[in-house]
Structures are given as C-alpha cells and as structure tokens.
C-alpha cells in the first residue's frame, strides 16, 4: 500500500507499545494499547496509521470522557464507595429523576435542548478550549467560539445561533515577568489575545456576546481556561437526527489542511515548554457565517437526515459518530484540500475549522448542491452510509482503514481509578477588625476578579440581531455590572431566555463539594435576580480539573459531581449538557514538578420566561426607595476575596441550604414578576459590601444600610467585616418602592429570611452602619466606582 504506513503492534512488547503511543501523540495508555493489540491479533494483521489515529481520536479523554464514565473507588475518612460511571450516577441521574417534561434532548447530542414555546426549542452548549489558548491565545479562543457555534449549528437538524457567552480564567494581570515560568505567555497577553480572538469570531458571525465572566487567580498562570458557549433556537420538529443507510456523506464549509492535527489527543495531555505546535487551529468566521446561513435554508427544505460538526478529531469523529449505528464508507481523496500533500490519515483527523458533515438522501442531493452553490459554500460528497456496521476508509481505490463500529465506539477499556479525599487545612487568619471598612471595600472592588470588565465587554457586539433586552452593562451610565442577560429571540413574542453563570475556584481549593453547590446557587441567583424562572431552568456543567490520575484531585472531582446531584435535585433544575477538560497541568522544568489549576467547575443556567417586560436591572432607581437584605449571612469568609487580599484562604467555605434557598428564590421571583421590585443584585464576591456599592454607583445614587439585625448578623457573623464581606450563598439586595412594602413583605414572608435594612439616598454617599449602629463605611459612590473601574482600564 503506498499511501499508508502499517504499524507493527502484533510483535510489540509493553515498552514498544508505549513508545508508539508517545511518538505518535496518540495519548493511549498501556491497557488501551493492549485492547487494540488483541483486536488486531484476532484480525490477523497490523493496523494502518489511519486506523490507529482513528482509535486514538475516538478514544481520547476529550471525546469519550473516560474518567467520568469509568469506575472510581472513592475513599473518604474510612468509608469506601464504588462509583460506576460518575456522570450517570450524578449529573445525569439528577435530570432523570427530576424528569421535567420541558426537557427535549439531554446528554445525547451536541447540545442540550429545552422547550421555548409551542413551536420552538432552545439549545445551549458550553465547552472549553484551554490547551490551544495557552499556546496561541488569539487562534485558540477564536476557534473555541467557532467550535461551540458549530455545535449549535449541528444540534438536532441545526439551530440558529442567537447568543454567545464567554467565561475566562487567567493568571494575575500584574504578574511580574520574573515570576513567569519559562515557555508560558504572560497572563495579560493571554487575556488580550483571548478577548480579541473571541471578539473577532463572534462579532463577524453576527451573534451577540451578551454574557460572561472573568476570574483572575495565580493557579491559571500556566493553564488559562477559556469557556465558550452558544445558545440557539430551532423548530421543535427539527430536534432529532438519524443517518440512514444509503444516505450520502456530504462535507460542507471549509477545506481540510494540516491545522489542528492531534487537537483532541493533545488536549488530553499536559502542556510543557516544547509542546507540539501544529495542534493549533486557525479560524475563518466569514466561512462559518456563510455555512450557518445556508444550512438553515437546507434544513427547512428537509434536504438532510442528520448533521454534525467537525470538531475534535475532524472527519474521524464526525463521520465515526454519525455512522455509529449504520456503518460508513469514505473516499478520502474526495475531500477538498487547502493544499496538496496531505497523507490519508492527515485528511481524516485534521481539525481544520468551519466544516460540517451532513447525511443526505440521494434523491435530495441535487437540490442541496444547488442551494450551496448559490450561497458560495463548498459541498462535496465524500462517501455513503452503509448498513454493515463497519467504517471503511479508501484512498484512490486502496483500503487504508477498516474498523468495526462496535470496537471503535465500545472497545475502549473502562478506566478504573482510585480517589481519596483529604480535606486540606489552611491556616485560619487572625487579625483585628479594621475600624473603618471603606478602605477594605475599595480594595475588594479593585481586585481584578471583581473589577469592571468594561474594557472587554465593549469590544463585543451585544446588540446584533436586535434581541438583547437586558445588557451586560447597566445603570444610568450603562457601566454597572449586570448579573444575567436576557434575550428576546422572536420578534412576534415577548417570551425570553435568561442566561447566567456561577464559578468560584477559590471555594474549590477548600472543598469542591461546596464550590459546586455554590456555583449552582450563584448561577441561579444571577438568573433569578434579573427576572429568571426557577420552574423552567436548566443547567450546564463544565469541569476543568488537573490530573484524574492523582487521587486527591479525582476525589475533588467526585465530590463536585456528587454535589451537582444533591444541589440540582434540591433546586429542581436539571442538567441538560456538560463537558469536562482534564489534565490542565503544566510541567515546569525549572521546578521539576507539575502545576495544576484549582478545581474549576463552571455552572451555567438558562431559563425561559413568559414576559421580558418583567425583567429588571441591578442599578438603584429612586431616592427614598426601601432596601432589603434577603438571605442569611454566616461567618463564611473561607475562599473570599477579603481573605485573599490578606494572603489567606481560610477554611469556612460558604455552604448551601438548597431547600431554604429555593423557597427564597421562588418568592423573590414571584415578587419580581408582580412588578414589586425595582432593582435586585445578588451577593457574591465581596458579599453585601460590594453588592450595595455596585447597585449604588451603577444607579448614580447613594444608599444607607443598617446591618444590625439582618438575618445571621450578630449571630454567626459577629464582626462587621465578616458581615460585609462574607460570601455566604443565596443572598440578595433588593430595592422596593415604599408603596409596595406590604405586598413585598407578604410574598417574602412565608419562612424566608429577610430584613428591611435601609433606603436609597438623595446624595451620592454610601453609608453602612454596623452591629453597634456605628458607621463602618462612609464613601462617595464615585470614589468607590473609580476603584472598581481603574484596575482593568487598559
């Protein structure tokens, strides 16, 4: 055979098997290599390079989630528990048990789909593009957003993208160059590159980027995290797909080149100074925009039975998955190439961007090709789906690969791992409570994670498509921090969708169980306080973790997943989709050790609301209005920004009581929908202090707050700084007109903790009175705003 190499694994011993895997960047472990060896022993021949590459891509952690679906022996204190398929036992189980009838498609397709109205459904997907962004921030982030947009284009029979959301985790932007490990780009440079990459791709696709978050922490210096998400809308009768035997395999969109080869296997391995560099994809949003436009036309004319995008693994994953239950025959020489000279295996696993694959019934082909030609998008028939359950790959008449679909998809040996949870005890800080907390408040506001992200937000078009109701920057000068965004996707309907996020790696360093619960609580808080709907609300999970081969790290992952089950079940919010990115580690040759990121779980929430006219923003509206504090404040400064500024982590991480929180949030939702609330903001980083400051300077109005007698204050939280800066969950600051006092208190009344704590002032001062009734904060709101805006004014 002249176009392929044959790899001798039949005669290979263990050392040789591992060498083959390492040199070929296959990321296959010994057990997997043995499974492959046995398969070929039975076949009586050696594999071709095309076949090995196919197996490597399809069996990669990134594509198949081996850790989440494997067996884990979890030990805590002296108790052991065997977890068989962590995903099924936690995240998926919550959804199954909640059994919400408005969930249409969960955990089976490129994205999760829920009902929107009688005719339409919305799909939501978030994924990460961490490893490529560490190497080439602009390209990595751009192709990250390009990839998730394609997931939406390829969910069901295709959805129309209507919103982008992005969450980033970077190292400290003011890191001194001497502290930067060798071979790592400076966090500020990564941040600027990532922001530009997402901007250029998202804006050019005509999709509004209206929601997101940025977190800065030392743990991300070597491994930045780039979460990109897209929401799409689609007709309800287009939510499912099925490739049928005899359907033609049609590749559409961009051409194939050498970019991004080994992206999937590379993303499953740790980074080091000299990591292979071709595994970076290059994006072209204009091509993707044309593909998006023409696909929706073809979909509505019923010209294809199935669609998926070419992401990790390229054609090998897309066609491999689509043909899973049927079989497929592919003629690799037919793939349109960017330039000559690609070997068959390169064509097959390239991750060149902007490509989708369709299953087209032969009688519809002519019509499909006409539409594509009219819109100047390339479409090429690569082969056909068969019914022999085999994957047959040909190149110029030669068979270059032949695999049974059963082995390809189910032959991967199940991973067995051990996990042991040992809670780290961090030193507990001891210092006197400062008399004047104004300075502490300013410092927290100036922390990069809290500070204004206006510099980033203003680069993203958040208005295109004309459906953005609640925007990322709110208030009198359109520069205050919004909690969630609201989109009205249909011109003829007032129904809307509310998107929010929750993320706190600092809590994760103490206990991933509580950080997962807190992230869910945060995503829901953000959603509700904008006017979201707890009864029609779905969640997405995105785990970014270090190495699953380290017992403590895996234990944290297990705890976070268990918390997802407990918390989501209690709130009644099912998970509909998720992803994981493991092995976010960097091998620092100078220190001779691996540095992992802090455990980072991003929870995103999407809810459907009946009337966007009920939505509210977070800025204070009128002097004289009443201010309430909802929810209980505890001594839970563990993982807080207040402690971080003093160099401490602490141990008392905020917990969640979902039963009480659900009651409170449901009541708040009712009050907001009845029009009784003028503004609402949740308490997160920096607690009550930051929340009221942000509401005040966003609204250009002063406020006075008396924290004495507020729920929890003086009991667990018995210091003023604890009260103001503790980051306890499930708390809100709410502004209510005096005339609505009775009605509001009646709705909140039934068993929820809340207190009338102050009012909006006519002047521009924020005054907070502590436990003894004395002033602890007395500040000009514009000085507070300046502290908040100055840090990231780049």
């Amino acid at each position: 055979m002249k176009n392929v190499k044959t790899i001798n694994i039949l005669d290979a011993d263990d050392t040789e098997l591992l060498r083959i895997s390492k040199e070929g960047v296959l990321s296959l472990n010994l057990e997997e290599m043995h499974a492959i060896q046995n398969y070929y022993r039975k076949k009586g021949r050696n594999p071709t390079d095309v076949e090995l590459e196919t197996l490597a891509q399809t069996w990669s952690e990134h594509c198949v989630h081996k850790t989440f679906k494997g067996l884990i022996e979890y030990r805590e204190k002296s108790q052991t528990r065997i977890i068989d398929n962590l995903l099924k036992e936690t995240v998926v189980r919550a959804t199954k048990e909640l059994n919400k009838k408005w969930c249409i498609s969960v955990f089976r397709d490129n994205a999760g789909i829920i009902e929107f109205d009688r005719k339409n459904a919305v799909a939501f997907k978030i994924e990460t593009h961490n490893h490529p962004s560490a190497l080439e921030p602009y390209g990595g982030a751009g192709t990250g957003i390009g990839g998730v947009i394609r997931d939406i284009l390829g969910v069901g029979l295709g959805a129309k993208p209507i919103l982008n959301t992005d969450v980033f985790c970077f190292g400290p932007p003011d890191l001194p160059y001497e502290k930067l490990p060798e071979g790592v780009l400076h966090p500020k440079r990564i941040c600027k590159g990532v922001v530009s990459g997402v901007r250029d791709y998202g804006n050019r696709m005509g999709i509004p980027t209206a929601n997101g978050a940025v977190v800065f922490d030392e743990g991300y210096i070597c491994n930045p995290l780039v979460y990109c998400g897209t929401v799409g809308i689609m007709p309800r009768d287009k939510c499912f797909k099925e490739a049928k035997p005899k359907d033609l395999i049609v590749a559409v969109g961009g051409r194939t080149g050498r970019d991004g080869i080994h992206g999937a296997t590379f993303s499953s391995a740790e980074l080091a100074k000299d990591t292979e560099v071709s595994a970076v994809q290059i994006g072209n949003p204009i091509v993707e925009k044309k593909v998006a436009d023409v696909l929706l036309q073809a979909r509505d004319k019923g010209l294809y039975n199935a669609i998926t995008d070419c992401g990790a693994g390229g054609f090998s994953s897309a066609i491999g998955e689509m043909g899973k239950d049927t079989g497929a025959r592919v003629y690799l020489e037919r793939a349109p190439l960017k330039y000559a000279g690609l070997a068959p295996w390169e064509i097959w696993v390239s991750e060149a961007q902007e490509r989708m694959v369709l299953a087209v019934p032969p009688e519809k082909l002519a019509q499909l090709m006409d539409i594509f030609r009219a819109e100047d998008v390339e479409a090429t028939v690569l082969g056909e789906f068969t019914n022999d359950k085999k994957l047959l790959l040909l190149y110029n008449g030669e068979t270059v690969g032949e695999l049974e679909m059963e082995f390809l998809h189910n032959g991967v040996p199940r991973v067995k791992r051990k996990a042991e949870w040992k809670k780290t005890q961090f030193p507990e800080p001891e210092f006197e409570e400062p008399k004047d907390l104004t300075q502490s408040l300013k410092e927290i506001l100036a922390h990069p994670t809290v500070a204004s992200k206006e510099w980033i937000i203003r680069q993203y078009d958040h208005e295109v498509q004309a459906g953005t109701v609640l925007k990322p920057l709110q208030g009198v000068n359109n520069d205050g921090p919004g909690d969630a965004c609201v989109i009205k996707p249909l011109f003829c309907s007032n129904k809307g969708i509310v998107i929010s996020n929750g993320l706190n790696p600092r809590f994760g360093m103490i206990d991933p169980y509580w950080s997962a619960a807190s992230s869910i609580d945060e995503a829901l808080r953000n959603n509700i306080c904008a006017g979201g709907n707890l009864n029609h609300c779905a969640l997405l999970d995105n785990f970014c973790w270090g190495s699953p081969e380290k017992e403590e790290q895996l234990a944290g992952l297990v705890r976070a997943a268990l918390s997802c089950y407990d918390t989501a079940k209690a709130y009644g919010t099912p998970f509909i989709s998720g992803k994981d990115s493991l092995n976010n580690e960097y091998f620092d040759y100078a220190q001779n050790k691996k540095i992992s990121i802090p455990p980072t779980l991003l929870i995103s929430a999407i809810s459907v609301i009946p009337d966007i006219r009920k939505v509210i923003s977070m800025d204070l509206k009128s002097p004289g209005n009443l201010i309430y504090i909802l929810g209980e404040t505890y001594d839970e400064l563990g993982g807080s920004i207040y402690y971080a500024l003093r160099g401490f982590t602490g141990n008392r991480v905020p917990k969640v009581n979902p039963r009480r929180a659900k009651k409170l949030m449901s009541s708040l939702q009712k009050a907001i929908w009845r029009g009784l609330v003028r503004s609402c903001h949740d308490c997160s980083e920096g607690g009550i202090g930051v929340a009221i400051a942000e509401m005040a300077f966003a609204g250009g109005l002063g406020a006075e707050l008396y924290v004495r007698d507020c729920p929890g204050c003086g009991i667990s939280a018995n210091r003023n700084d604890t009260i103001l800066f503790s980051e306890s969950n499930s708390r809100f600051i709410v502004e209510v007109e005096p005339k609505n006092k009775k009605a509001f208190e009646k709705i909140m009344g039934n068993g929820s903790s809340f207190k009338l704590a102050g009012k909006v002032r006519k002047d521009k001062l924020l005054k907070i009175y502590g436990i003894n009734g004395k002033t602890v904060v007395n500040a000009d709101i514009y000085e507070l705003k300046e502290s908040w805006q100055k840090t990231l004014r780049w």
């Binding site: 080439e136 390209g139 160059y177 080149g257 970019d259 994006g283 072209n284 780049w794």
Partner: protein, 160 residues
C-alpha cells in the same frame, strides 16, 4: 511579478492598533518608545498590471478617505537611516491558513482581476524611540508575533 502593497492611515487619522501596541510595550516594562505606526501588508504575485493593482487598492484594500496605499515591487522596500527607528514585518509561517489572503483573492476576481496567483498578508510596525536590539527582540516575541504561527523580521538588520 511580485508586488508589496502597504496600507496605512493618513497622517492626522488615529492609528488604533499603533496606539494599542505602544501601550502594550509599556506593559512589557520597556520605556523609550515614542510612537508606533502600523501598516497592513499585502504581498501579491501574478501577471497583473499596475492599473489593476491600483484598482485593487482603491476598491478593496484601502479606505481612501482615511488610508493611503503604496505599491512597490520589492519585498523589503523602506527608507530608514534613522538610528531611532526599527521596522518590524510579521508574516504567517508557511502552511498556516491566511483567511484574509483568501478573501483578497476572491475580492480581486470579483473586480475582474483574474491573474493573481498568490496573496499573503502581514503587518508592519514602525517603532520610533530609543530602544536596544534586545528590547526590540522582546517586543517582537512578546507582542507582535506568536512564533507558533508567525515569523518576524527586524530592519535594520544586525545593527545594535
């Protein structure tokens, strides 16, 4: 025939990219840079007439209200004997997808210019100030070019 087209902002118009790079250089810890001016570079190869090139520039590559263009037939045409000026050109490495170049080719065909064989795009940075060779190297590696997909050339070459 090979041509190099440079498109830059007319004097008096705000060069946003140049400004951003100047600020970023300060963030690298390098002071002494007085100004940064940028130009977008288009390398064009084919059987094209000067008339066609001018059409390409006026209709596609430059916004003639705010920008000016320059067509030369040499790759490294610039005039500088000023010791306080460095010029850096950044191009994509061979084999890297150049999406803008593909679009230029398509746009040229739409304009009726048929015989373009190859287009490459790049950036030129004119950095004025009192900085050392080591510092300009840092600027290139740290800001202007990502060695993963791009390569850079500094002019004048070899002078400290």
């Amino acid at each position: 025939m090979e041509y190099l087209i440079k498109v830059r902002y007319k004097p008096g118009f705000f060069d946003a990219l140049g400004n951003t790079v100047q600020r970023d250089i300060k963030d690298l810890g390098i002071s002494g840079v007085k100004k940064v001016k940028t130009a977008q570079l288009y390398y064009v190869e084919g059987e094209i007439t000067y008339k066609e090139l001018r059409l390409l520039c006026k209709e596609l590559l430059a916004d003639t209200i705010t920008q000016q263009y320059e067509i030369t037939s040499s790759r490294t045409s610039f005039k500088t004997s000023n010791k306080q000026t460095f010029i850096v050109q950044v191009w994509y490495k061979k084999g890297v997808t150049d999406a803008v170049a593909d679009t230029v080719k398509k746009g040229a065909m739409d304009l009726g210019i048929q015989k373009i064989d190859k287009v490459k795009t790049g950036y030129e940075y004119i950095i004025l100030g009192n900085i050392s060779r080591a510092e300009i190297e840092r600027i290139c590696r740290g800001l202007l070019a990502n060695k993963v997909v791009q390569e850079y050339k500094i002019y004048p070459e070899g002078i400290a």
